[in-house]
Amino acid sequence: MTRLADVTSVIRSKNAGPYELTLDIIFTETFWFDEAVRCNLVNAATLASLYGVDESDVLSIIAFAPANAIKATLRRPLASGALGETDVYGAQQHAPLLTLTFGNE
């Protein structure tokens, strides 16, 4: 079983505008990027479950081959800076992704 954290150089989150949170996963090798795309590792159902949101709040998942990267964008539960919001720049919302693993195939 391979952990996503072990085959990536970057796993991060950031605002994409005040209403969206975007997650970037950059793989160290094309092999693991291809593998993640092939097995659909990052999908709406998985993200919804990791973050406790509805699948409809997963706005997009895009594989960006030039950077060996997968990008997913979530609707923010609260807009950046709204009362009660916890992360104005959205920079620390990535941790649940670190728990993802490639299944035993």
């Binding site: 505008g17 960006f64 807009a79 800076g81 709204a82 009362l83 620390q92 649940p96």
Partner: protein, 296 residues
């Protein structure tokens, strides 16, 4: 930017500007492809972030021609790789292939990234698709009140185990004294660092009991004095709140500071986030030309 440079400006001071335009204005003005100029500007405006290792403390250098541009690092401590340069368009955007900006969309679907040597990357194929009518982004924030916060730690396991009940009890007591909380004219919030202070409702491990919690008590009201009063009342109520099974009867909170409460001042929230259609891109940004230093 181009308008000001065309008029002979040596220096342009702008209140707000599309970041890539700082680098793209001159090449676009001189007839270089808009898409390549903007893509290059987008990379250069972030200093050496698109290098490896990335850094905001020194710069990159780009050479632009009719068919592409080459980026290279200026520091021997870093290099440009296809991945580091390509990954740059992921940053703070939702779609790395299509980057919307003033007046149109930067399209990277046909962009090629090629490693020229150890430290240089060639980028080609990026095109700019002008939108049907020129649109710019309009952002605005409005004053929603004044904030006061108090920071305190909790170590008692019995308190931590019942924290939701305790905070709800405190909220009920405070709301009884300050009806504006129930009326939504003031807000009382508790943040529990160590549990879900960072991720809020997105936190998957909220139910794991930590050994300590950092609490932030936060009051937002229509005046600073009112926010101070609500925060102080909530803090003192929580400090001595008698919950079932409490062993530590001398106080529930560890304050790192005295005084314990801080005025955080004005609170703003986003209130405008729209695309605005404009007929003339220049008209929305009036410019004044002024001589500096007494020499024209």
């Amino acid at each position: 930017m181009i308008h000001a440079l065309d008029d002979g400006a040596d220096v342009v001071v702008a209140g707000r500007c599309y970041d890539p335009a700082v680098f793209a204005a001159v090449p676009i003005m001189r007839g270089y492809p808009v898409g390549l100029s903007l893509h290059m500007g987008k990379i250069l405006e972030c200093a050496a972030i698109a290098a490896m290792p990335g850094s905001g403390s020194d710069c990159m250098f780009a050479t632009l021609d009719e068919t592409g541009f080459t980026v290279e690092t200026l520091s021997d401590d870093r290099i440009c790789t296809v991945t580091s340069v390509a990954a740059h368009t992921l940053y703070e955007k939702s779609d790395p292939y299509r980057l919307a900006g003033p007046g149109g969309m930067l399209d990277l679907t046909k962009t090629a990234f090629d490693q020229l040597d150890d430290r240089r990357v060639r980028v080609s194929g990026t095109v700019f698709e002008p939108s049907v009518s020129h649109m710019i982004k309009l952002e605005g924030a409005r004053l929603t009140g004044y904030r006061t916060v108090s920071i305190a730690g909790v170590r008692a396991p019995d308190f931590i185990a019942r924290i939701d009940d305790i905070l709800n009890g405190v909220r009920t007591s405070v709301a009884a004294q300050f009806p504006e909380i129930t009326g939504n004219e003031a807000t009382l919030l508790f943040r529990a660092y160590g549990r879900d202070g960072v991720m809020g409702s997105l936190e998957p491990e909220r139910d794991q009991q930590p050994h300590e919690i950092g609490l932030v008590i936060e009051a937002v009201a229509s005046t600073q004095a009112q926010a101070d009063a609500i925060c102080a009342f909530a803090r003192s109520t929580l400090l001595h709140f008698g919950y079932a099974g409490r062993k530590s009867t001398a106080g529930n909170l560890a304050f790192p500071y005295s005084p314990s409460d801080f005025k955080a001042g004005e609170v703003y929230e986003f209130s405008v986030y729209h695309l605005m259609r404009i007929a003339d891109p220049k008209a929305a940004f009036p410019a004044d030309m002024m001589p500096l230093g007494g020499r024209r």
